[in-house]
């Protein structure tokens, strides 16, 4: 006993033991440091991921939130009986065929009696959405009793007008005018000594900017000139030293070309120089009248329910083009200067159109309403009429087909492979191939669908049924792998218990193993479905990328799906589609997050512990 104690305690006191403790202690610091470093790497990685996610979501939401709102204008539309239903039939067919476009346009023109001339009037009605007549039509069809009265109809503005009102077209600065403003019939406005001083200074600054630009170009041209001179010298000497005639001609040609180039550059230099001096003197001179051009920011003067566009400016007086005549020439009324930062040539609405919109805003006709069309309509070339409902329904049908096919097939395949198939090289081969299928690029499935489902079987193009078939091929491996993992995770003791009770293999499977594996299988299926919902590439191959306006009524109707709709809109040039793209992404993300949450929820709820 004592021996054992001695032996047991001896190493503690022995020098060798202390040595080990020291070595360990020395290393400890390093080990802990490594641990802390590792934790830091992890935190940094997670932080970065969160940050990127945050940026992504902020961008998408800030870009897309506008699409959920649409600017609408309220118009007083007289629903003349003679216009809509001249024979007073009361028949909805007749009422539906009336010229609502004329009515809407007419009432907008009536709001701006001062707008004359064909092109101006077209510009005015161009502010309305091309679907505005349908909106009026549905108001009337919903309530035919309104015929004969004047309704206050709220109709959509065009996407360009909408973009301007949402601030996506140009920066707008409104400054209150100082003092009184005298007006003449032909649009000469004059006020206090410094009434237009700010505009004047702005214009001067603009000239200074242009002078800077011109001077930069001059410097560039001079550098170019230097290079040309060098080339000239080189070529000239080569010409002198040239031996044979052919070379001489070549050099002579080059020389001539260079001379021409030099002359051109010189000419432009001259022009630039004179411009630069001109702009510089104009920007520095304190007096005189300046003319605005289309490459400069535009200025509108708003007063007495009228709008003027400034053409020339001095400190106290401007000449203008009358965009919309004022109600009176009363000089004591309040007035404003509206500066449109983006030059007229760089935007899709003219100064006049913006002036009219501004007036409508001042009159309180414009408001931003929830964009219900976005959730209820199919695709359209007009952004303000385009919606995601068609794509959503297409996605629904496609996913239904996918689910109905892939879930039973996937689960049955998994059950067979996991529980019943003999373990031999054939089943091994099948297993390897299933795992490989999960890694096949999805576009390959699209090609397969095109070659087999469309060309061999002659199924309809662009139809959800084909999309569903293709996505089934793509989803199957995911479901099979997840289902097999779920089956594997059921403890063998449950299987043994059932078999030991005298249950047949099918009974043991359906009574005990399958119910326990089902939550895992469902989770796998939902994740597979979420993948399928976000899939674009294979659907492009089978024609689901077509421009389809109608809401699909079934799995064989032509349709498109949400991600393809996003793809199509992202391609569209209109600014308003940028907004809608992001909004559609938000909707798609919403669906995906919901589906994944459902998977997590199912797993949590039905998870069985042994």
């Amino acid at each position: 006993m004592t021996d054992i104690t001695k032996n047991g305690s001896a190493p503690l006191g022995a020098p060798g033991h202390q040595g080990i403790a020291e070595v360990v202690a020395k290393g400890l610091k390093k080990r802990y440091a490594a641990e802390r470093r590792f934790r830091m790497y992890g935190l940094v990685a997670i932080g970065l991921a969160l940050l990127i996610l945050l940026v992504l979501f902020t961008t998408i939401i800030s870009n897309g939130i506008g699409a959920f709102f649409q600017s609408k204008v309220t118009l007083d539309v007289p629903l003349e009986v003679s216009e809509i239903d001249p024979d007073q039939t009361g028949d909805l067919d007749v009422i539906g065929k009336a010229n609502y476009r004329g009515l809407v346009f007419g009432s907008l023109r009536a709001d701006f009696p001062g707008v004359s001339g064909r092109s101006n009037r077209r510009a005015l009605t161009g502010l309305l959405s091309s679907g505005s007549d349908f909106e009026l039509r549905s108001i009337v069809l919903d309530n035919p009793d309104l015929i004969g009265t004047t309704v206050q109809a709220q109709v959509s503005l065009s996407d360009d007008a909408d973009m301007f009102l949402k601030g996506n077209m140009t920066d707008v600065e409104v400054s209150a005018g100082d003092g009184t403003l005298a007006m003449t019939e032909d649009g000469v406005l004059s006020g206090g000594v410094y009434a237009f001083g700010n505009v004047f200074i702005d214009v001067k600054a603009e000239f200074a900017r242009k002078a800077d630009e011109a001077e930069n170009s001059i410097a560039q041209n001079q550098r170019q000139l230097g290079r040309i001179d060098e080339e000239l010298a080189v070529t000239a000497s080569r010409l002198e030293n040239a031996d044979d005639e052919a070379q001489k001609t070549t050099y002579a040609d080059t020389l001539r070309n260079l001379e021409t180039l030099k002359a051109n550059v010189n000419a432009s230099l001259e022009k630039l120089t004179s411009d630069a001096t001109d702009f510089r003197t104009r920007s520095q001179s304190d007096a005189g009248e300046e003319t605005l051009d289309q490459s400069m920011p535009s200025y509108l003067v708003v007063t007495n329910d009228g709008v003027f566009k400034i053409l020339t400016v001095t400190r106290d007086k401007v000449t203008t083009e009358i965009v919309s005549p004022p109600s009176s020439l009363d000089s004591s009324a309040d007035w404003q200067i509206v500066k449109l930062q983006t030059p007229e040539t760089d935007r899709r609405l003219t100064d006049k159109q913006i002036g009219w919109l501004h007036l409508m805003q001042d009159r309180g006709q414009i408001e931003s309403a929830i964009n219900s069309a976005f959730f209820t309509t199919g695709d359209s070339r007009e952004p303000e009429l385009a919606g995601i409902w068609g794509a959503a329904v297409g996605s629904f049908w496609t996913l239904m087909v996918t689910l109905v096919l892939s879930f039973p097939i996937g689960v049955m395949a998994a059950v067979y492979l996991e529980e019943f198939a003999p373990k031999n090289k054939w089943t091994d081969l099948i297993e390897v191939n299933i795992n490989n299928l999960a890694a096949v690029p999805s576009i390959v499935f699209g090609l397969l669908g095109l070659a087999v489902f469309l060309n061999v079987f002659g199924l309809p193009r662009s139809a959800p049924v084909v999309g569903g078939l293709v996505l089934t091929l793509m989803t199957l491996p995911t479901i099979i792998i997840a289902s097999r993992a779920a089956l594997k995770s059921v403890p063998p003791s449950i299987r043994e218990a059932a078999l030991g009770m005298g249950a047949s293999r099918i009974q043991a499977m359906t009574h005990h193993v399958l119910p326990l594996a089902l939550p895992g299988m469902l989770t796998g299926t939902i994740i597979g479905m979420a993948q399928a919902l976000g899939e674009t590439a294979p659907l492009l191959m089978i024609g689901m990328v077509a421009f389809i306006v109608d809401i699909p009524g079934g799995p064989t109707d032509p349709a498109t799906v949400l991600p393809v709709q996003i793809f199509l809109w992202a391609d569209a040039p209109e600014r308003a589609f940028v907004e809608r793209t992001s909004a559609a992404i938000m909707v798609l993300l919403g669906f995906l997050i919901t589906m994944n949450m459902a998977a997590v929820f199912l797993r949590k709820k039905f998870e069985t512990r042994w």
């Binding site: 003999p422 373990k423 403890p491 003791s493 449950i494 299987r495 043994e496 218990a497 059932a498 078999l499 030991g500 009770m501 005298g502 249950a503 047949s504 293999r505 009974q507 009574h511 005990h512 326990l516 069985t608 512990r609 042994w610």
Partner: protein
């Protein structure tokens, strides 16, 4: 204690071996060899499982005792590459005969496993499952009766009668194992196989199970695999000692534990290897 057993053993020593041969065995294994693929796990085992007695199979790990037990209700069928040679008969019928339905066999030869494995269902459903798949109860009242009597015979009725609808997995380990026994006897098997039924249990639960086994002996033929030699000595009438796939010795428990004829048995039961 050893004195008493010795005395008993001495009294019964001589006639017993003949009895083994003469008694009408419930199940009989003759020249049973089992192969897992290339590997042979059992070599020509001859054993009789005597009716209404407890037969203990003992031996070191990997000696083939569980393999043999699982041959008795053909649970090895599920394992890929497992091949059984020789003959195992039950009431003179070969259970490996192609005409024998494995489902029917397992209804006659029930099994209790090493780890308590109740189904993740209610206690009632656990017991009712066997009778239900075999169609042993025609209505709810009959089923209730079967469930109650099975639970009573497994001496667990008093503990669970108020919570029959609660999951069987919520019981303690010992209760779960008794529930599994109740489940096994609910189909009125003729033979019950137990594969180390107490190895996952504490001594008190083990004692209860052993008591239960002793009671069940009056109605059922039992074969039990155990690692605990004390347990084999306590509960069994016959004992078979396996070593490296061979049946080394088979005989009356008393004889085998007190007067083993083979030195390997001697070595194992005295703890020299194992």
């Amino acid at each position: 204690m050893s004195d008493v057993t010795m005395a008993e053993k001495d009294a019964e020593n001589t006639p017993k071996p003949e009895k083994v041969v003469q008694a009408d065995p419930k199940m009989m294994g003759r020249k049973v060899s089992v192969f897992y693929g290339e590997k042979q796990a059992l070599f020509d085992v001859d054993i009789d499982i005597v009716e209404k007695q407890v037969t203990a199979l003992i031996g070191p790990s990997g000696c083939g005792k569980s393999t043999f037990l699982r041959c008795l209700n053909r649970m090895n069928d599920v394992i890929d590459g497992c091949e059984v040679k020789g003959s195992i008969t039950m009431d003179d019928g070969d259970i490996y005969d192609p005409t024998v339905d494995v489902v029917q066999l397992r209804a006659r030869v029930g099994m209790v496993f090493q780890k308590p494995n109740p189904f993740p269902k209610s206690i009632y459903e656990n017991v009712a499952y066997g009778p239900r798949i075999h169609g042993l109860a025609s209505n709810k009242a009959e089923m209730d009766a079967v469930v109650e009597s099975s639970l009573r015979r497994a001496s667990i009725w008093d503990e669970v009668k108020d919570r029959l609808d609660q999951p069987g997995t919520g019981l303690s380990g010992g209760q779960q194992q008794r529930l599994c026994i109740a489940r096994a006897i609910a189909v009125e098997p003729e033979v019950i196989l137990m594969d180390e039924p107490c190895s996952a249990l504490d001594p008190i639960a083990t004692a209860k199970i052993e008591e239960l086994i002793d009671e069940l002996r009056t109605n059922f033929t039992i074969a039990i695999v155990t690692h605990s030699m004390q347990q084999a000595a306590r509960v069994s009438q016959k004992t078979a000692f396996f070593h490296l796939g061979n049946l080394v010795e088979y005989g009356e428990t008393e004889t085998l534990f007190t007067n083993p004829s083979d030195e390997r048995t001697q070595g194992y039961i005295t703890g020299r290897f194992g």
